[in-house]
């Protein structure tokens, strides 16, 4: 067994990740509580009633949601400005997809995780998974989703926030809410997988741990992020 650890995340990345995670969960839960309409209610009336009960009133709930959202966006903005180069590198990394490798990875890994290797073999596929970089294709797609959804959520959120302050037309707020809901919904769909993979799946336990320690075992790196591992190894 190789117990050698490889540095993967610095402190800043770890903090922003967990800040992001907390905000995202909090905003999703409170945001869901802001929908209260018997014709829409995604999970039933009990949730908005519960949330409004916890926060005392619907107005407090919306205010908390707004100000946490604004705070989240502001912190991110500062983070990006302060770590501009790293942020750019991150964006470049997550938005660079290699169609062949990443598509195969997506298909095979999904089957492997849900149905297992045997099923894959039965389907006539090898269990060979294409090698991945710093992020695997799944992580990249989820990252893309969160970056795009996050941006749209911030923009639509701000539109709704300023609607009653400066906007003379009601239409932007109406569409913003529709889009805000759509984006939050899609992100939540991705988030469920992300949370499972990170926190529950045994497979990715080292990655989960690395989000606290900043490092991953060499083995893990080689198997899961082979391209990145090579890159790190080859670095002088």
């Amino acid at each position: 067994m190789n117990n050698k650890m490889i540095h993967r995340h610095d402190k800043g990345a770890i903090y922003i990740h967990w800040f992001n995670a907390l905000c995202w969960i909090f905003l999703t839960l409170t945001g869901l509580g802001l929908i209260s309409n018997e014709h829409i209610n995604p999970v039933g009336a009990w949730w908005p009633d519960l949330m409004r009960g916890i926060f005392g009133s619907a107005e407090t709930l919306i205010n908390v949601h707004i100000y946490v959202g604004l705070f989240w966006a502001a912190v991110f903005l500062i983070y990006i400005l302060v770590r501009f180069r790293d942020s750019l590198a991150f964006l470049k990394e997550v938005f660079t997809l290699s169609p062949a490798r990443d598509a195969v990875w997506m298909v095979k890994r999904n089957i492997q995780l849900t149905l297992g290797n045997r099923a894959m073999k039965k389907m006539g596929m090898t269990t060979e998974i294409p090698p991945q970089g710093f992020y695997n294709a799944g992580q990249k797609i989820f990252a893309q989703l969160t970056v795009i959804a996050g941006l749209i959520l911030v923009v639509t959120g701000i539109i709704m926030f300023i609607s009653t302050i400066i906007l003379d037309s009601p239409t932007p707020a109406a569409w913003s809410r529709t889009i805000h809901y759509l984006m939050a919904g899609l992100a939540l769909a991705g988030l469920l997988v992300h949370i499972y993979m990170a926190a529950i799946s045994r497979d990715e336990r080292p990655a989960f741990k690395s989000m606290f320690s900043g490092a991953v075992p060499e083995d893990y790196a080689r198997h899961h992020h082979e391209l990145w591992y090579q890159e790190v190894k080859n670095k002088p």
């Binding site: 009133s57 107005e59 205010n63």
Partner: protein, 732 residues
């Protein structure tokens, strides 16, 4: 489960949090400012306790009881006083708009003295001291040069008008006239000359009412307007005669589009049927309790319904049927006396015909008929009127018409006298809250009159057209800021009551009440003794002997005198010459006036000419239109015209036309309606102000005072406003 009252609104939350942000950001960055709209940033004061104050409305002449709600020293809302029987616990649109009367951006703030030519609009601000000194000096100077009667006084129709009246009398002028001389004096004359007093219609208990020459559903009279509906619930039938399809007409049981000015024909024919078919009550009414019934019987023989149909356009069989119906309903039936009767040159005679119809219905002093004046018990404190040796014998327009009403006179005839300087000169004008420049027919003649005057002082709340042509303008306090004496009111059979006003809020700016002004002027003119009292002392004298009156007015906003309502005369003689109802009037005969109404066909407009009639809506009073809450219903007046003649002349709905009479001209937009007689046009009062400081009605529409020619009722001298013919030309 749902919060009844959100404890903290998002906007408040936002405001406070953004304010905190602004402070921490080093105060007022433009971004933050732009995020906090002014409307939200201001008015952050916590809501104060709401207090309620009784008062009486002054948005028209009805004096309805109201409760002003005050918060943080500002009147935020005015509600009706539910205990106020005269107004049946209601408040109309105008009363509700009183908040914009007191908080009118056009309000006068301090005394002004004219600095340019009259009407030029150049003013200098002066102190009250200077304004009062100057006014006293000018009035004394005119009194010295032209006698005390050389000043015309217009005391207004206000709860403090009695002080202006007192001031006029102690100053020594009997040339006091009023807005009423443009209004109801011909009606008053007719009833005075028929039953000896001006009655109140008991609409509430009536079973049959003919409304002619009145529009009580738009021109509110309390409690009559409301009582029509209570009466109708109890089976009362309402017949309306009007060339216009007014709202009264729109809600009547029957509406007849009578030809303008022919009402007398209808009523004479009505009397004809009642007399001929002996529908009157022979025992208690005719001929026993009337004077001249026999002569009248002969007089009306020719006035058959068939004849009347040709004159007034109402089918003979309807006239006969209405006569039978109303006689059957008598005495709980009436011809509604109406209010503004300043319409035709024979308007007193027209109302005499109505009053005689009422006499035949035997409805005076009876439920559902016409009520005698009830006792309220409010006294007018006595004062000495000094004698001025050099004063002329009588008021300036005395004798010009046979039926001039004492203490009222006729503004129109006085105006003629001022222009002619005959029989003696009038050179001063003391005016309180009356706007003849906007209300009196022939504005150009009023301007001509003003050219003959040496000094005009005007007390008003805003720069009316009349103030605009004055020399000294004194800012009056609004009724909500004043302490007023007790006023006695009769509300039909509902009540005989008394009210006063205490200030709801303090006087704004440098505004002052007429009482204070008269008191200050009297000190400067050696008449201090006449105003040596306070309002409280005055009130006590007014209600002296009326037990509980003061307390009731304080605690309930009104005092009711449980005085007799019906049968007040109880067999004792009426206040007429003969002591009975005078169908035949001997005084008229002696003055060379028809002792019984004689129908004369009204003069008719030439082809392509129209008779201009005027009136008002339920939301305006005369020239008091400059109110933001009310102009929203009508931003400018239009000319109502029947589409048929208009189309014939090539005019379309909405066209801008020039309306021209012999007196003046103005521009109005056409408004087509089939609800108007074809050779009649109508426009509302209160627009086309000359004063730019009447900002909502200046350069909006046209003023009736500009368009109307000046005719007057031949008996009372009341103005006659429906005798003007206009031509209409499309403005290119």
């Amino acid at each position: 489960m749902k919060d009844k009252m959100p404890p903290l609104s998002r906007r408040k939350f936002l405001k406070t949090s953004l304010a905190a942000a602004a402070i921490s950001a080093g105060a007022g960055s433009p971004l933050v400012k732009s995020l906090v709209p002014r409307a939200h940033a201001s008015g952050a004061r916590p809501p104060g306790q709401i207090t309620s104050h009784y008062t009486a409305c002054d948005m028209c002449f009805n004096r309805c009881g109201m409760i002003a709600r005050v918060q943080n020293g500002v009147i935020t809302k005015i509600d009706p006083n539910p205990a106020f029987l005269k107004s049946r616990g209601m408040l109309c649109a105008r009363g509700n708009a009183a908040t914009k009367h007191i908080y009118d951006p056009d309000r006068l703030k301090y005394p002004l003295r004219r600095a340019g030519k009259r009407g030029e609009g150049k003013w200098e601000r002066i102190s009250w001291e200077e304004a009062l000194d100057y006014t006293a000096e000018k009035l004394l100077e005119i009194g010295e040069k032209y006698t005390r009667c050389g000043v015309m006084f217009i005391p207004g129709s206000d709860m403090q008008s009695q002080f202006v009246n007192r001031f006029a009398e102690v100053f020594g002028s009997y040339n006091i006239t009023s807005h009423e001389t443009l209004c109801l004096l011909s009606k008053n004359r007719a009833y005075l000359d028929t039953i000896g007093e001006v009655p109140y219609p008991d609409v509430y208990y009536s079973k049959y009412i003919i409304v002619a020459g009145a529009n009580p559903f738009e021109a509110f009279i309390t409690p009559d307007t409301m009582d029509f509906f209570e009466a109708r619930k109890n089976g009362c039938k309402i017949i309306v005669l009007d060339p216009r399809f007014t709202k009264t007409a729109a809600m009547a049981d029957e509406w007849y589009q009578i030809k303008p000015g022919t009402d007398m024909a209808f009523f004479l024919a009505l009397c004809h049927v009642i007399a001929k078919e002996e529908l009157y009550e022979a025992e208690g009414c005719c001929p026993v309790n009337t004077y001249g019934f026999e002569e009248f019987f002969l007089h009306i023989r020719k006035y058959t319904p068939e004849w009347a149909e040709k004159e007034c356009g109402i089918p003979a069989q309807d006239i006969a049927r209405i006569a039978r119906e109303i006689a059957a309903a008598a005495p709980a039936a009436m011809v509604y006396p109406g209010r503004r009767t300043s319409d035709y040159e024979d308007s007193t005679q027209i109302r005499r015909a109505m009053a005689i119809t009422n006499a035949l219905l035997n409805n005076f002093d009876k439920p559902g008929g016409l009520l005698a004046i009830r006792e309220v018990g409010v006294k007018t404190p006595y004062y000495d009127v000094p004698w001025y040796d050099d004063n002329p014998f009588d008021r300036v327009e005395a004798g010009l018409v046979p039926g001039l009403i004492d203490h009222e006179g006729s503004f129109q005839l006085m105006r003629e006298a001022i222009i002619s300087g005959e029989p003696y000169p009038i050179k001063g004008w003391f005016n309180f809250k009356t706007n003849f420049m906007q209300t009196a027919a022939n504005r150009n003649k009023t301007i001509e009159m003003i050219d003959h005057l040496e000094f005009i002082v005007n007390i008003d709340i805003a720069m009316t057209d009349t103030a605009w042509y004055s020399d000294v303008v004194l800012p009056g306090a609004s009724f909500l800021e004043r302490k007023d004496p007790v006023s006695a009111l009769q509300g039909s059979s509902a009540c005989a009551c008394a009210v006063f006003r205490d200030p709801v809020v303090p006087e704004m700016f440098e505004s002052r009440s007429p009482f204070w002004i008269c008191k200050e002027l009297s000190k400067r003119m050696g008449l201090a003794d006449s105003f040596d009292f306070t309002i409280d002392e005055y009130r006590r004298q007014q209600v002296d002997g009326l037990e509980g009156a003061m307390e009731a007015m304080e605690n309930m906003g009104v005092y009711y005198n449980p005085s007799k309502t019906y049968g007040i005369y109880a067999g004792s003689p009426l206040k007429t010459l003969t002591g009975v109802k005078e169908i035949f009037n001997q005084r008229y005969e002696a003055s060379g006036v028809d002792p019984m109404p004689v129908y004369r066909r009204p003069k008719q407009p030439a082809e392509n000419q129209f008779r201009l009639v005027v009136g008002r809506t339920a939301f305006f009073t005369h020239s008091n239109t400059n109110n933001e809450l009310l102009t929203e219903f009508m931003e400018e007046n239009t000319l109502n015209i029947h589409p048929e003649p208009a189309t014939r002349m090539g005019l379309s709905d909405g066209d801008l036309v020039e309306v021209k009479s012999k007196a003046g001209q103005g521009r109005l937009r056409l408004e087509f309606t089939e609800g108007i007689e074809k050779q009649t046009v109508y426009t509302a009062t209160g627009f086309g102000a000359l004063s730019p400081e009447m900002s909502l009605v200046h350069n909006k529409g046209a003023s009736i005072s500009e368009l109307l020619e000046d005719y007057h009722d031949e008996i009372s001298g009341n103005m006659a406003m429906h005798e003007t013919f206009v031509s209409i030309r499309k403005v290119a």
